[in-house]
């Protein structure tokens, strides 16, 4: 897939940011730092969603993943083992792990390279190339009118209509799963004394 123009710039920045944060996540010294890098990684991914014109998914990613899941992670980390990491630091970089990391990276790069060469999904296409810095003498690129009125995000509409018609069954299953998780956690976390006082 050829990206050009501002899209390319944003894509490379975001992709680099996401990768750097992901690497920082797996090499973080403490769990809380790791959670923060996770948050940064997820925000980077949300930015990539925006580049794919999936705005609703990007917004939902931040709202749910960062605002919910990462907060939950941090709650758990803080409540459960506050100082364990610092008191007994975990030896991350043993020799075996380093070797395994190198092997995995080489494998991933190999798969990517071969995938790009074969292009089974026809991802590479030629689109109109809009240069970021127009060469002298070229006609000025068309500027889109900023939409002050704000169209409905087609993505939102798409997701909404699909979710309630074609994907209704997975939606319901997911909600039942969440319900089971909530009820289960409440049952597990309640102490006997709280049960007695409630009844």
């Amino acid at each position: 897939m050829e990206l050009a123009g501002t899209e390319a710039v944003f894509f490379y920045i975001l992709a680099l940011f996401t990768l750097v944060m992901a690497i920082a996540l797996v090499t973080a010294p403490t769990a809380v730092r790791g959670a923060l890098y996770l948050m940064a990684t997820l925000i980077g991914v949300a930015g990539l969603f925006l580049l794919l014109h999936a705005e609703f998914v990007a917004g939902a990613q931040i709202l749910i993943y960062v605002g919910g899941v990462v907060v939950l992670f941090i709650f758990v980390i803080m409540l459960v083992n506050i100082r364990a990491e610092i008191n007994e630091p975990f030896r991350t970089y043993t020799r075996q792990r380093r070797l395994a990391a190198v092997v995995v990276i080489v494998m991933v790069l190999g798969v990517w390279y071969f995938g790009i060469q074969q292009d089974p999904f026809h991802l590479v296409r030629q689109g109109p190339v809009v240069a970021l810095i127009p060469p002298p003498g070229a006609p000025p690129p068309p500027v889109e009118e900023p939409t002050l009125g704000g169209r409905i995000s087609e993505d939102t509409q798409e997701v909404g209509s699909v979710l309630y018609t074609k994907a209704a069954l997975p939606f319901e299953i997911a909600s039942v799963l969440l319900l089971v998780a909530i009820v289960g956690s409440v049952v597990l976390a309640r102490t006997r004394r709280q049960e007695e006082t409630f009844d």
Binding site: T30, R33, G67, I133, V143, G150, S153
Partner: protein
Amino acid sequence: MELVERIISNPVMMEYVWKPLVVILILLFIVLTLVAYLVYAERKVSAFIQARLGPMRVGPYGLLQPLADLIKLLLKEDLIPAEGDRAIFKFAPIMSVVCALVVLAVIPFGWGVATITDINIGLLFILSVSSVGILGIILGGWASNSKYPLLGALRSSAQMVSYEVAMALALVGPLMFAKSLSMTAIVEAQRADHIWYLLYQPVAFLIFLVAGVAETNRTPFDLPEAEAELVAGFHTEYSGFRWSLYFLAEYTNMLISSAIAVTVFLGGWSFPLLDRLRPEHPGLFTLLSILVFAVKVFVLIYIFMWFRWTFPRYRYDQLMDLGWKWMIPATLANILITGAIIMIGQETLGLTKVTGGEYGERLVVPGLAGKAYFIGMAWLVLVPLTWIILAIINRRSYDFNLRAQRQIRLPERPATDDVFGKV
């Protein structure tokens, strides 16, 4: 040199980078000054409510007080806890402030150029960024390296998360009328219908307002950070400018909650009589629309402050009880019943007309009949039904049966307090 000039004057850059940058800088300057003076306003409002004067010394009527406070805070010693994560200690207030300020980018302050930008998931963006701001509080409490600020931060953030659910669900009601997540589109929808969604969705407005108070950790929901409580607030270890960053974030959040409430429920910057000005004097129209928006936002902020200095504090379990067992069921009931009302109005009674055009498909209510229908249904059906549902859910809760107001045993009390006729 010519390359640089071409980069700068490129129309794409001009449209998407330089113009918004100028608006952003102006807006940032205005908002930050405004927030500093909001603190002053709070002190004055609280003083007048409490029968005293407030800051009067620094400048005429104490108007330069924020400046004095700023100088003092900047000159304070920057204390960082010896142990604990220093980087996170420094990062946490920045995160709170950034998430509070970023939201300003999508709020329509006025017509035309008075908005920095308009994205078509505006409301979702605002909710997402607010929920990221909660992390700033948790990290602040954690980086203080002490048990009590940490517990205070966790309680504070648990409260904020719970009330955010209520806020988000409360916003879904008017969205059903506006049919768009974009903030400008919501304002345009209210403008085109000549209605304020407050009239269609009173329950949602009320819940949004109260949840907004709880979001910003203000009284009556400020138990985690009140001084009289045992568990000290998350900002105990912060002093000087870092502490003022948290304060800034809190007041900016208050500003944002009011701005969202105004945009979604009170018609944003639109005012019925102003529309006539639009074709002839666009500049004047813009200014007036900003003024109208500002007035509405200040009324809501005044209500926030009014709440703070009138009500006592909820206890933490009562607070969470209120959020989960009263507000969230109320918002869910609101969505359900509103959907039914709209469907009946649209299909059965045919009171609505769907227009295309630049704003896409939107619910337009023609004339008085449709408006009367929706307003009537909202106040006569939605409110009582929601109340009934809440009563059924909470019929056994202690809080609900708190009508017990017992009189003390006093044999006979004089009819007036003046037993001897005159004092």
